[in-house]
Symmetry: none
DNA sequence: TTATAAGCGAGACGGTACGTCTCGTCTTCAT
DNA sequence: ATGAAGACGAGACGTACCGTCTCGCTTATAA
């Protein structure tokens, strides 16, 4: 989250509660004001904390917002609904529900936009948000393989590439529908999307195996 | 682009060249500074124009950037390569190439983020950028239908829903891979993506027809 | 007071009233807060002016306070009371009265202290405050010479040196008594002081003439 | 200098060297930074001491600086040069030499300025600096009376008033010439000043005696 | 040809937030 | 209990942009 010299034994320790208060205040401000009108001074005030305390722990608005938003996605969970399609539909709906929350969409897209010019920020986003959720794709696949819905992946490189593709397609489509098209990710859409995705992957797997 | 009272017949007319200069200066500033450090004062200076001139024509930074970025996507063209897969691959590669340009990714994602809290802005983006390019999906489909690669759509509602889904999947996946995953949209990736998409759509069409 | 490029013909002209409002607000703040607690933000607020307007015209707190205080001394006037001693007593009392005002003593001594490390500031003080009042010494002397109370000065260098000495002695003694000794400059003290000064000068003149 | 509960017998005793180190560090910082840029944190660092230690012993910047500067004036000594004029010239030169040192002028004038709004501070200055040096005036006078250069003072009230006047005139003139006029207090100036002062006093004494 | 009207560059205006600095206090561990 | 270390709430600093305004000037149409 934020660094500090590793062996600081002396001096007053940093307040443990301040961190949580700041991140909560950040999300609150994102809901009320959105990213562009969020100011660090206001966040500090909401958190009952001095501006210096905030700057001591985060380098700036972007880093703070990434941390505040990342926590939201930790509640994602892969449902065990018995079939791969249902599992996917479940997790996509959860993902869409989080993304529909104003603190998530307002903050996340803004930092992604900022990350186009800031490699360290992109890395932070990937580490805090994306990679942490990629587990869902991997877990879903192994479950489906255990159930016999998907064949085992012979080649690890192909497996990884496919997982990345699935992640880009799922996250990308949901984000685009929510934020750009501005239409709801409802059950009907999710069913259609999942159908296309799974049939496409199955066909591709057959093709790859054959080729 | 910008409004003006419908019947202003008298007074000095607005400079025609200023608009183009401002939009070009905006793109230049996006490349050098990114969205968050772009200032309207700086754009005005680069364009050799007074700030008032700029404010007379655009309401603010967001509107200006939408217009500046929208022009970039007009160069997209559906190649006629003989097969649906190749057509899609071609247009996806073009789209990815535009999105890789710093003025596009920096500006576009930022205004999309802003649009999460500003319906008028979202509408402007949809009108200026998204809907203007949806023609590619429609044109690609009719061509494929003409070639016999796709069956004709019996139901216009389904047709529209499918076109939206395709657009969300294509745009979403490319944007996510470029901006979030931070990996290149190269020919290999495009081939894999297109394969999954088309097989999925074909299977879904069969399923829908059967259902 | 403050500089600006000499021939600025274009652009909105600076508000003429702002200057006066700022200087008055500065004196008001000096009275209420003293120099060390006076903040430029507060002065700006009192003057009904933005901080930027203030910084556009003065380089900082010191320069502003010098200008605000200098105006106070312009009301000094050499009374024509018929005798040199009475003239001096009158002007010393006036000087002491101004110096007793909180905006004068708080501000003036602070900028003098600052000027110990800032030659430009010392020069500004000398030009705005000291030299502008040295006229009183010169005028008093010529009047006394016209009355025959003092002999004409044969040597201009000696005349200048003596004027400087008188100024240092008068201003120094009054300031020291007011600010350091913290005792009032009342008529009794002024009479004693003037007596010593004049007798000393007369004796010195005789000595110089003889030598 | 600083207070402490009278009967603290237990606990770790205060470091004796810390006081000296802090005052020396204060003077060093005054030389390098001047009063307004001197910070207590910086002084603590220079003295190799924690900020808390410093605040435990002094109430604030002003009190600290008064103590640091007061020590400088203890080296003043009345020379015994055989005549009153020479004695005065000697001590004025010494005083001017101290006042010319940056830690003295920068610090002293600033606390005097602060003292215009802080009676306790003015009292501290008078006790630590002014009254401690008034001994020079008194000693000089008794010596001159012993030598027969000055008549004995019949009236103690007059004697005190005259001593105060002398002190204000001497200190005031030297300070004004050094800090405001910005000219050196050299032997020529001192000779002229002493001449005026002594002749004035002599004439005034005669006048008072006669009246 | 003159009036009227809007656009134009320049730059000052009242605001707001920035990120940094210093203040004086508090909390920890070690002496 | 004192000391060094350093985090803390508070608030001023001087700067940068914001979006508006006021200038004097230019460039049009309409009278």
């Amino acid at each position: 989250m934020q660094s500090r010299s590793p062996a600081s034994r002396t001096g007053r320790p940093r307040s443990a509660t301040a961190d949580a208060a700041i991140l909560a205040a950040t999300r609150e401000a994102l809901v009320e004001l959105g990213w562009s009108k969020l100011t660090l001074g206001d966040v500090a005030t909401r958190a009952g904390v001095a501006k210096t305390t905030l700057y001591r722990r985060w380098a700036g608005k972007n880093e703070l917002v990434v941390d505040a938003v990342a926590e939201l996605f930790d509640e994602l969970e892969l449902p065990d609904s018995g079939s791969l399609a249902a599992d996917i539909e479940g997790v996509v709906l959860q993902f869409a529900a989080i993304l529909a929350r104003p603190e998530a969409k307002s903050g996340l897209m803004a930092v992604v936009a900022e990350a186009t010019r800031d490699d360290a920020l992109r890395e932070r986003i990937r580490a805090s948000v994306v990679d942490r959720q990629k587990r869902l794709v991997l877990e879903g696949r192994s479950r489906a393989q255990a159930r016999g819905e998907l064949p085992p992946e012979p080649d690890p490189a192909t497996a990884s590439r496919t997982a990345d593709l699935v992640f880009d397609m799922v996250a990308g489509a949901v984000v685009h529908r929510t934020l750009v098209s501005g239409k709801p990710v409802d059950e009907a859409w999710v069913r259609g999307f999942t159908l296309v995705l799974l049939r496409g992957l199955a066909a591709e797997a057959a093709h790859t195996a054959a080729g």
